[in-house]
């Protein structure tokens, strides 16, 4: 049992490190770093992120697990993790490519034909083109297969009508992966097809949605008679669900193994500087108990990540058990943020004021985390996944099995 690299891993790490040293500046480890949900909508940030991605692509360090013929280097998953660990030690622009590189690219690589891969992968990899995920709809979130946006064949094109929602980054993306219903008379999961849509097509309208924290990371996307060439279809008509599953599996594979250790450091710092009845809050037994619980839990998440990395290092693909990281980590982060606010007593509610040093950062965190508990599988859906796919418990009984999609009962709102 150790945390050491194998000799091959160490050699790879050194190579990655050398390139980074030549091309970027080391970061200050105390720098708070990226925000949680990638709500980066300002043009300068996007330009900087694209420039860094291009630099990596030119140096052969973008999307390293992808095949060499499309610009990757055919690296292993553990090498990808090592690369990520090293890159995170350097000052780099925020990563705005999570969805494109983490989910869209792998889906195109799995289900696309050669022409499609050549068309899309190189510019996705180099960051020249940004991608978004057009899955969720007003009446289809956790129950994704309940989606209603339709596509009807017309000559060599498909004509799309409907609405997507919560589409992160749609306002500055060039392409989107899109799941639509092509047959409402088939059973729910059987009537879906999967396309790549040009976000600049006529009839695509993107309207940013304001989040609880004023950010505008996600959008509504309306489709009015949008024409998509049949050549942009991934896999067969009616096989869209299988392709969507590939996308969702890749969402899970983007593991980090990172913890929330610095938040604890901030909490301790705050507790040392806030006075509770004539002594620093950190001397208060109830404060100590909470901090100890947070620390223990966040280390638990971090070391669980190490166990996943170990499996990766031995060549195993992480399975549904890696749902634990987001399920535990997000709720924990929310609790820590809440506690950070409470440490300030009544003044904990003052925002942007210096009366509680550091409290504003906890406000921001407390407003960001609820999104994390919903995006990419809600807490409840993750518990379903763990109980059914990891523990093998019986699946949910469902009211939508074996009937044509059009006959499935819906709520009054939809």
């Amino acid at each position: 049992m150790d945390f050491k690299d194998t000799p091959e891993e160490a050699a790879f790490r050194a190579e990655a490190r050398a390139w980074l040293e030549a091309n970027a500046e080391l970061a200050d480890p105390n720098d708070p770093g990226d925000d949680v949900l990638g709500e980066r909508t300002d043009p300068a940030t996007i330009a900087a992120a694209k420039a860094w991605q291009k630099k990596k692509a030119d140096g052969g360090w973008a999307c390293i697990t992808w095949p060499e013929e499309y610009g990757g280097r055919g690296a292993t998953s553990i090498q990808n993790v090592i690369w990520g660990q090293e890159e995170s030690k350097f000052k780099t622009p925020p990563n705005i490519f999570g969805i494109g590189i983490g989910m869209c690219g792998p889906t195109v690589l799995t289900h696309g034909d050669d022409r499609q891969k050549k068309q899309w992968i190189p510019k996705l990899l180099s960051g020249e083109e940004l991608w978004c995920q057009l899955f969720s709809e007003p009446s289809a979130g956790s129950d994704l297969a309940g989606l209603r946006t339709t596509a009807v064949k017309d000559g060599d094109d498909w004509v799309v009508n409907g609405q997507k929602i919560w589409t992160t980054g749609a306002q500055f993306c060039d392409w989107g992966i899109l799941v639509v219903r092509t047959d409402a008379t088939a059973a729910k999961h059987a009537g879906l097809s999967y396309f790549v849509v040009d976000m600049h097509s006529p009839g695509v309208e993107v309207r940013p949605i304001t989040q609880i924290n004023h950010g505008q990371g996600f959008n509504e996307v309306f489709f009015s008679d949008v024409r998509i060439p049949d050549a942009n279809r991934l896999s067969e008509v009616g096989n869209g669900w299988a392709v969507a599953i590939t996308t969702l599996m890749n969402e899970r594979a983007s593991i980090g193994g990172g913890g929330t250790g610095d938040v604890i450091g901030d909490l301790i710092e705050l507790a040392e500087n806030v006075d509770h009845g004539g002594r620093p809050a950190i001397e208060d037994a109830s404060v100590r108990e909470r901090i100890a619980d947070f620390y223990t839990r966040s280390r638990g998440v971090q070391y669980t990540g190490y166990r996943t990395l170990t499996a990766l290092s031995k060549g195993t693909t992480p399975g549904p058990e890696s749902s634990l990281g987001k399920l535990v980590g997000a709720a924990l982060a929310q609790e820590m943020a809440a506690f950070g606010i409470e440490l300030g007593g009544v003044a904990g509610a003052t925002h942007g004021d210096i009366s509680t040093p550091g409290a504003s950062a906890f406000h921001d965190m407390y407003l960001a985390i609820p999104g994390l508990r919903i995006a990419g599988g809600t807490d409840e859906v993750l518990r379903n996944i763990i109980s059914e796919r990891v523990l093998g418990l019986p699946p949910e009984s469902r009211a939508d099995k074996g009937i044509a999609f059009k006959d499935i009962p819906t709520g009054p709102a939809s």
């Binding site: 049992m1 553990i78 619980d293 638990g300 166990r307 634990l324 109980s387 523990l391 019986p394």
Partner: protein, 370 residues
């Protein structure tokens, strides 16, 4: 990154599991629970023949000379089996204290017996309710004689000797005292988990020899507790996982409203949450095992988080086990209460979870200041 046990260690774990399946089915724990016997002598002896007690004891003293990763996998299996034996007292505490601080003479005197299972040792710090460690120790050591009372001492009724904390002229010190001598009175005290026994021990001028440097008792006791905390955490992990498995199997077989109760989402989610607690504990325990086996400076913090996570997970597993079994879970006849009891006993036996949380924050602040 290889944050896992080796193939050899896993093989040892499987051997231990097979051995315990045969020699320590849950009926063995129940037998001790329901009778007056303080522990299963047959199991303790058989475990010693397997070499469990001597796992980390050097070969020159009759042990196997393995490392702590080997002892950790054995601990996990003993925990799964609810083994009703004085293993923790003797192996994780008394043996560790002597390995850490014993003179050559003390090692030769005690380690061979501990390794072979012929001797049982225990570790006694606290003296009255509310104490968790060496704070408030009043027992005196003067001129090689002990005076005072230790309460409660896990396995104090059956141990041959104890490592105890006492005040000497140079401050708090550890000492070894043989319990079979004039000047030692032992009285059994009731145990929340009667499959594990405990006693009050009174010393009136009993002969004792100092262990380690006189006056170093508090620091030494802390080091022993840290080491034991990691190993006990593995027992807790094993117990929690077994309780979880039994509960899951029961729920798959129990039908209500025409379906297995394991198909109700409210219950599926509770099992999912319990599973997460157990995974987090396993991960923290691995870190503890890594720190212990390499004797790194991180052990202080690693021991705390292993123990805090393990106490929480095992307690929760015991609570959920009874609740999710329904009425039968509350019967003496079903095994649920044996896990519920063991979990609680282990959660206080090295000091309450709150005391370890306090210790963790102190250590985090020390680390931050350094």
């Amino acid at each position: 990154m290889n944050f896992d046990f080796s193939e050899d260690q896993k093989l040892l774990q499987q051997t231990a599991r097979n051995f315990l399946a045969e020699h320590s089915p849950l009926s063995v724990c129940r037998e001790v629970l329901e009778s007056d016997q303080p522990y299963s002598q047959a199991l303790f002896k058989a475990a010693a023949e397997m070499g469990f007690q001597g796992t980390v004891i050097p070969e020159e003293y009759g042990g196997a000379g393995f490392g702590y990763l080997e002892l950790a996998v054995v601990a996990e299996e003993l925990g799964r089996a609810l083994a009703p034996i004085p293993f923790a007292s003797s192996t994780y505490l008394a043996t560790e204290a002597i390995l850490l601080a014993g003179s050559d003479e003390q090692k030769s005197q005690y380690l061979p017996g501990l390794a072979s299972g012929e001797a049982i040792g225990t570790f006694a710090l606290v003296e009255k309710p509310g104490q968790n460690g060496t704070e408030g120790v009043e027992t005196k050591l003067s001129g090689g004689k002990l005076t005072g009372t230790k309460l409660p001492v896990l396995d104090g009724d059956v141990a041959d000797f104890a490592v105890i904390a006492a005040q000497s002229d140079s401050g708090l010190s550890l000492a070894i005292v043989d319990l079979d001598q004039a000047g030692v009175t032992r009285t059994s005290v009731g145990s929340f988990d009667p499959s594990r026994s405990m006693a009050r021990i009174e010393f009136k001028g009993a002969a004792a020899s100092v262990l380690g440097k006189e006056g170093d008792g508090a620091a030494l006791a802390d080091r022993v507790l840290d080491r034991a905390a990691v190993l006990v955490a593995f027992e807790q992990l094993g117990g929690a996982e077994r309780a979880f498995e039994i509960t899951k199997d029961f729920m798959n077989g129990r039908y209500a409203f025409g379906r297995p109760i394991s198909s109700f989402q409210a219950l599926k989610h509770r099992l999912a949450d319990l599973w997460c607690e157990i995974q987090l504990t396993r991960s923290n325990c691995y870190y503890g095992a890594w720190a212990l086996s390499n004797d790194t400076p991180e052990l202080g913090i690693a021991a705390c988080i292993s123990r805090i996570a393990a106490c929480k997970a095992y307690d929760l597993a015991g609570v959920e086990m009874i609740q999710l079994h329904g009425g039968v879970g509350y019967t003496w006849e079903y095994d649920c209460h044996m896990f519920y009891r063991r979990a609680k006993l282990l959660s206080v036996m090295l000091g309450s979870p709150a005391s370890w949380k306090d210790k963790l924050v102190t250590r985090l602040r020390e680390q931050k200041a350094a």
